[in-house]
């Protein structure tokens, strides 16, 4: 609990100092653009601070994500889906990151650009709360605390970004059929049940 208070307080105060005027000036409509601005600001801060981390290895078949995204998603999967000891399917046998990459692949280009900015924004969102550490570099407990702090943040952009990240992970996981049997989800059933198509309805009587 003490850790949670520390992280929350530092997260809020640091962002208040650096970004709140900008956020208050934001029109709600352009929060993703705001993300871009904040992301750029944080990136500048990073370069000044000299903070960096090794990039991940890009798995085969990934077309949209870049190597820098991989450690962030691996950390998110580790924190959001700690299934050890549960009935749920281990995420290491589910192509969560590949599924997210595929989701990006079908998005409109402009939406995809916004989302990629959002990923960067999230990766750097923990900079102010944990001694200049990217999200991917946090230990799992600090990462969990950071996520919950953002989700309860008074700044809507933090709530927005972390909610979006959770959605990507959860959809990337649950869309894979290997995750269904443990919770008794039946998945597609029409073929299994041999439900015949009724075809087109007959023309209405005149």
């Amino acid at each position: 609990m003490a850790m949670a208070q520390r992280v929350t307080t530092q997260c809020s105060s640091a962002v208040n100092v650096s970004a709140e005027p900008a956020v208050q000036a934001l029109n709600r409509r352009s929060f993703l653009k705001a993300g871009l601005i904040l992301g750029a600001g944080i990136s500048t801060g990073l370069s000044l601070g000299g903070c960096s981390s090794p990039e991940g290895t890009l798995p085969d078949g990934i077309q949209i994500l870049s190597a820098k995204h991989i450690p962030m998603f691996e950390k998110l999967i580790s924190v959001l889906l700690p299934v050890e000891g549960s009935i749920l399917t281990p995420p290491d046998i589910v192509p969560v990151i590949a599924n997210i990459d595929a989701m990006l692949g079908v998005m409109h280009a402009s939406t995809r650009e916004d989302v990629l900015v959002l990923f960067d924004l999230f990766e750097y969102s923990s900079i102010f709360s944990t001694q200049l550490s990217r999200f991917s570099q946090l230990d799992n407990e600090d990462a969990r605390i950071h996520i919950e702090a953002c989700q309860s943040s008074s700044l809507f952009i933090q709530r927005a970004v972390v909610t979006a990240m959770k959605k990507f992970i959860y959809i990337g996981y649950w869309r894979d059929e290997k995750t269904w049997a443990p919770i008794e989800f039946d998945g597609p059933v029409s073929k299994q049940w041999n439900l015949p198509s009724l075809g087109n309805a007959p023309l209405p009587a005149a």
Partner: protein
């Protein structure tokens, strides 16, 4: 008398991007219809059945039911606008619309309601639609309901999630009823939102569109109307583009000459089409007055097994609060699969989430809808569409009440805990906790988990040229021969699922175009 037979028992004769070899296609018709959902399909059928030469332009792809995989994420990407990621500009409300041949009728939950009397009275007294009475629309409701096999859910169509809703409502003394749906011998797969793979849901895809085609209508998929063409105050046709749905590459310009143009592209795309065309907006009302029935997916954990994904997706509803004087909202017992359960509420992070999802078969879900105000605005920012809509301060007390009553129903039914639809974790286990948490809710961006299935408004119907976009018969006040027939013409939101209102109103507009009346 000519006997018309169904052109095909399965599938549709559709011209798709892959069928087109020319770079420009020029066509002539009596009527060109933009969109193939509830509005466009009815217009196309009624016009074609009356002997008119009809062309239907649908921006989305043609996906026959054999292509419905019953995997919701895949189908969101294939059948929905913006691959299921269409959002309000704040980014905290998904606005789901079908974008395929058949439109939203392909992907809806098949729930049907007639327009509530109180809404028609409001349209009559406050918006001047004096001819659009319950009596005038009655024959149209009757006709489309018959054509779409609308029936009240039978006991086998009330799945466990709806039995629980009934149990909670009964304990509280709340009025509740089976929903009506447009299905025929429902397969009870629970996959309505992914399209009905066995053609039990009587969507436009298997009703009005094949009927229109049997009467000679021509349907172009992958073909987006870019502008409505006009001269001297009269509609002259549509300029469209056919694009490869896989790559987005432009295949052909499609030019349709027609003296009657009907926009049935829906409450978001119809105003955007008018704005692109720079016409029909002397009132300044095009794109304004957007409403959308903000909806939440309430979830609760029970000791008993529910398997919320099994059975008819929507079974029964609480109508206790339907009248605006009593709240203006309804609660629908609605199923959900793991993706919806995973996203509908916030059970916590990490182990808490894993524990919650491990009990997914014990999670019950409920869909809420309310009669929101027309405070939104659809417009372009450059070439990017903007859906400017947030919960208004006037509607916020209603939203809180909706959440409160839905949670009360779950608790009365024996829920161990109810997740409120908030971004942060908010769960309640008693009425006392519920009241406390409701009091703490604030109307701020990214506070609630909301989705809209029912975009409405934006091309308001009415007799006053200064306050409405189309007249009481759906015709543009500014351009003769240009009509709108979709949910955009609603002067207000309708409280309930709107598809039958669209079907019936479009049937009414079709008769007005043809100069006849039922």
């Amino acid at each position: 008398m000519t006997t018309v037979k169904l052109a095909s028992e399965h599938g549709l004769a559709v011209t798709q991007a892959s069928d087109i070899k020319e770079s420009t296609i020029e066509l002539t018709a009596d009527v060109v219809v933009i969109g193939s959902g509830a509005g466009g399909a009815v217009i196309a059928y009624e016009m074609a059945a009356a002997g008119k030469n009809v062309i239907i332009l649908e921006a989305g792809p043609y996906v026959p039911s054999t292509g419905f995989t019953e995997k919701l994420p895949d189908m969101l990407e294939l059948l929905y606008e913006d691959q299921g990621a269409q959002m309000n500009s704040t980014g905290d409300m998904a606005i789901l619309q079908g974008r395929c041949v058949g439109g939203s009728t392909v992907v809806n939950g098949a729930v049907t309601f007639r327009t509530p009397d109180v809404i028609l009275e409001k349209w009559n007294t406050q918006y001047g639609l004096t001819e659009l009475t319950k009596e005038a629309l009655g024959p149209y409701f009757k006709k489309v309901e018959k054509n779409l096999s609308v029936h009240e859910n039978q006991s086998h169509e009330i799945a466990k999630h709806s039995q629980i809703l009934n149990r909670g409502a009964k304990a509280l003394g709340y009025s509740h009823k089976p929903l009506k749906r447009n299905t025929k011998n429902c397969g009870l797969t629970g996959h309505c939102l992914s399209g009905c793979a066995s053609d039990r849901k009587q969507s436009s895809l298997i009703t009005y569109l094949p009927w229109a085609i049997s009467h000679g209508a021509k349907l172009f998929a992958d073909t987006r109307a870019m502008t409505i063409d006009h001269r001297d105050g009269k509609a002259t046709g549509v300029t469209a583009e056919t694009r490869d749905p896989a790559t987005g590459e432009k295949i052909a310009d499609v030019i349709v000459h027609a003296s009657t143009v009907v926009s049935s592209a829906g409450a978001i795309q119809s105003p955007l089409l008018f704005l692109r065309s720079k016409l029909g907006n002397s009132s300044g009302q095009v794109g304004k007055n957007f409403a959308c029935h903000p909806s939440t997916l309430m979830m609760a954990e029970f000791d008993e097994e529910i398997h919320s994904w099994r059975g008819a997706a929507l079974g029964s509803y609480v109508d206790e609060f339907e009248h605006p004087d009593k709240g203006g909202f309804i609660l629908e017992g609605g199923g959900s699969g793991p993706v919806e359960i995973a996203l509908g509420g916030e059970p916590g992070t990490g182990k808490e989430y894993v524990s919650f999802m491990s009990k997914a078969k014990n999670i019950c879900s409920m869909v809420t809808l309310f009669h929101d105000r027309n405070v939104g605005h659809i417009y372009y920012d450059g070439d990017k569409k903007v859906i400017d809509y947030d919960i208004s301060e006037g509607d916020f007390p209603t939203l809180k009440r909706v959440i409160q009553e839905a949670a009360k129903v779950f608790l009365a039914a024996g829920a161990k805990r109810v997740l409120l639809p908030t971004v942060k974790k908010t769960e309640v286990r008693s009425l006392e906790e519920l009241d406390q948490q409701i009091d703490l809710l604030e109307n701020a961006p990214h506070t609630f988990r909301m989705v809209s299935y029912h975009p409405q408004g934006t091309m308001r119907m009415g007799p006053d040229k200064k306050k409405s976009v189309v007249d009481a018969y759906g015709q543009s006040h500014d351009v003769q021969g240009l009509y709108v027939a979709d949910a955009s013409v609603f002067p207000t939101s309708v409280i309930v699922n709107p598809q039958i209102t669209v079907y019936a109103l479009s049937s009414y507009i079709a008769d007005k175009i043809l100069g006849k009346a039922l």
